[in-house]
């Protein structure tokens, strides 16, 4: 779907943006053609989100110019961007959960008659936008009843209603499963066929060649190349964005597997509204156990019960032969369970604290004496992790609000890897992390298992599950649907089990 002849709808030239202590963008050029899917690629903190936030009016540029249809424009606010037909879909969705799909699509543009909202037209207009996006969603449903994927598509419909000509998607798939990604791609193909240009940001390399027409690589706030995707290999792109060779994708060293470490017996819960239904599983020392499944299969709920965040309604968790007291994260940590939550903003980070303090939070008991925090110990640890995971921050005392999304994820990771745990429960550990850093994270997981720890890894990325796990459980509707040995598993078999099609 390339349109090489079309003139750019949008071009950005010499865009500069500095924050205290960092130059986020250093003279970036970027052009977008009508009807193309333009992939924006770069390591964590390269400046992708910042560039798009300038386009959507969330940030103001320090220098540079933006033209739309060849005319210079000034984008000073999200309103300006909307008037120019630029719509942005952030990873954190910006719909009003209590309103219906139709009300959200037309928010701020409600058709009215004598001051009263014309509900019939409201729904008709919404239905039209949904049809334009090729969606089959009831406009009268409340948004909080929809899954994340559907909400994302409602955002696309909303953009179309506002006559968007440019739709920016900043890591739209990081919370989606394979099937939902397919649906999203269907919607993208449909809107680009209608000459809408899409900017697509993702760290999942497989998606790029599938959906993208052209790609621009950012590195340290500079554009280091724009290519037609069919002309370059993924390897070249990775090398270009990382500026070094990135080794084997899934460097799993399968070592000796020891005795049983974690045993879960007939676990049900959480007690309020049970999602997990009679789950039993085992993790051994030195083993990485993958937990696959669709969104809503109950994997996160299971993890939360194991680490004591939610109370179970039945069953128990046994670590190293000793029962882990339920519903207390504190006691689960004491028992030797380390946790990495799925939602870093809600359950992971304290945004007002620094990188160093966030890494310290669950580990302070070890890094303090008589209640006094040893700032030297804490800082030394933080500095080490900043180096090891290449956490892109001016210094370990920087507040995490100021870091890029993937960099924040690395902070959550560092924190859980620093835990003095025997068993690590990691819920989507590499979400939003760049390709190069993923390999380093996998290497750290190898080291943990070499030293005898066990890891229970929840992941929606099948290649990751298959590449890193020694054993895989597939969950579906709150139950364990299937169990595979790494050697016997394939993407197809796992997916079929997740969908309930296994024989």
């Amino acid at each position: 779907m390339t349109h090489p002849a079309t003139a750019p709808v949008l071009s950005m030239r010499g865009i500069r943006k500095a924050f205290p202590g960092v130059v986020a963008l250093d003279g970036v050029d970027f052009t977008l053609r009508a009807g193309e899917v333009h992939v924006l690629l770069g390591e964590n903190g390269a400046g992708k989100s910042t560039l798009m936030k300038i386009l959507s009016g969330a940030y103001r540029r320090d220098a540079g110019e933006i033209t739309v249809d060849g005319r210079p424009v000034s984008i000073g606010s999200p309103r300006d961007a909307q008037a120019l037909g630029i719509a942005t879909i952030y990873q954190e969705l910006s719909l009003v959960p209590q309103l219906t799909v139709a009300e959200n699509i037309l928010l701020g543009h409600e058709p009215s008659r004598a001051g009263w909202i014309d509900r019939r037209r409201l729904e008709a207009d919404a239905r039209q936008s949904l049809r334009d996006a090729g969606l089959d969603i009831d406009p009268q449903r409340r948004v909080d009843r929809l899954g994340i994927a559907e909400q994302q598509m409602v955002e696309v419909a909303k953009a179309l209603f506002r006559h968007a000509r440019v739709i920016v998607m900043d890591e739209p798939t990081s919370a989606l499963t394979v099937r939902e990604i397919d649906r999203l791609f269907g919607v993208i193909r449909r809107v680009t066929a209608a000459s809408v240009a899409v900017v697509y940001i993702s760290h999942r390399m497989r998606e790029l060649t599938e959906i993208g027409d052209r790609v621009t690589v950012l590195r340290d706030g500079r554009n280091v190349g724009t290519f037609t995707l069919s002309d370059v290999s993924t390897g070249d792109l990775v090398r270009l964005m990382a500026n070094r060779d990135v080794r084997d994708h899934f460097p799993r060293r399968r070592g000796a597997i020891g005795e049983e470490l974690l045993r879960i017996d007939h676990l049900c819960g959480p007690s309020g509204g049970p999602v997990v239904n009679d789950v039993s599983l085992v993790v051994r020392r030195g083993e990485i156990v993958g937990l696959a499944g669709l969104m809503g299969a109950g994997r996160t709920e299971l993890a939360r019960i194991i680490i004591g965040a939610d109370p179970p309604s039945a069953g128990n968790v046994v670590l190293d032969g000793r029962p882990v007291p339920p519903s207390s994260p504190r006691r689960a940590i004491r028992a030797g369970i380390g946790f990495l939550p799925e939602d870093r903003k809600r359950h992971g980070l304290v945004m007002t604290l620094s990188v160093c303090e966030n890494i310290g939070l669950p580990n302070l008991a070890r890094w303090s004496r008589g209640g006094i925090v040893s700032r030297r110990a804490e800082r030394a640890e933080a500095d080490r992790w900043v180096g090891e995971l290449r956490i892109k921050t001016p210094h370990a005392g920087e507040r995490v609000v100021r870091l890029s999304g993937g960099t924040q994820q690395k902070v959550v990771l560092a924190r859980s890897l620093a835990a003095d745990a025997k068993l690590f429960v990691m819920d989507e550990p590499t979400r939003g992390v760049d390709v190069g850093a993923k390999v380093e994270i996998y290497e750290l997981m190898n080291r943990l298992t070499d030293a005898g720890a066990g890891i229970l890894m929840i992941s929606s990325e099948l290649p990751e599950v298959l590449g890193m796990s020694d054993r895989i459980y597939v969950m579906r509707r709150g139950r364990i649907e299937a169990e595979f040995d790494a050697s016997a598993a394939s993407e197809e078999r796992v997916l079929q089990a997740a969908l309930g099609l296994a024989c």
Binding site: T352, P362, E388, A396, L444
Partner: protein
Amino acid sequence: MLTAASQARRQAEGQARGQTGIQARAGLRFRGAGRRFGTLAGLVGLCLLLWILTPHFLTVANALNVMEQTSINAIVAVGMTYVIVSGGIDLSVGSLLALSGVVLAEALKSGWPAPFAVAASFGVGAAAGLANGLGIALGRLPPFIMTLGMMSVARGAALLVTDGRPVSGFSSGFRSLATGHVLGVPSPIVFTLAIYAAAALVLSRTRFGRYVYGIGGNEEATRLSGVEVRFHKTIVYGVSGLTSAIAALLLTARLNSAQPIAGINYELDAIAATVIGGTSLTGGEGSLGGTIVGALIMGVLRNGLNLLGVSSFLQQLVIGAVIIAAVLVDLMLKEKRG
């Protein structure tokens, strides 16, 4: 015995040593200093203005006077800062001050030795604060509601204990707590500084202090990090009750009298000092260094307006306007820095 993880970590250490060029020092030391500097500049500017407007302002006697006057509010604001950093609010501080004051006075009057009377008073203040904390942490009451209720309960208790009458007349030894000097400095100032030094150390250096910031910044993330959130929240309100009781001790000794109607509107002054000092009402950020400057701004303003002969009606108006302006400027500076 080394656990698996710590062995892995040790191994990792060897490989990673030398790669970390990035220093944490600057960032940690100056955290929040920018904001505090703004408030400090405000205080200095205010002093300069008053110095030009009135010759009586910049004298040693007046400076000591201002600080002495400020000490009560400043001490109450210590607890308020803890509470606000933890994401809550405490409306009961003024009533708790009155209640612990009359408990102290009644105990002294009935012949208790001063140390016991003081201990009883502190105990009552802290216990009432802990009750606030339990209602909030275990009962899941909104802090606003719980402390609003306690505000009335403690006031009622203070009135009941004293039958609505002030209790006065104490030994000169006891009064010297507030009227004495240490190396020429009035003792309330010494008290205040000592309390700030200790409370600031606790807030910035201890695990407890760190957890207070964590709870205010993201309670759920802090809980999942294994922090006993309910316990620490309860303690925070206990600290606030305790600082109210300490303020009551100084006030009672200074006035040689304890009033059941003391401390009315003190919560507002304490909240004002805290937010002028740059502590965010949404929790998770702030510092006692900011709060003491905030309290001084309030004190200097009041003193200056008095020296200038401004009517007390107009004073209220000016002080209210200054609070709004100070927080507005702070927000704008914050936005600019991103």
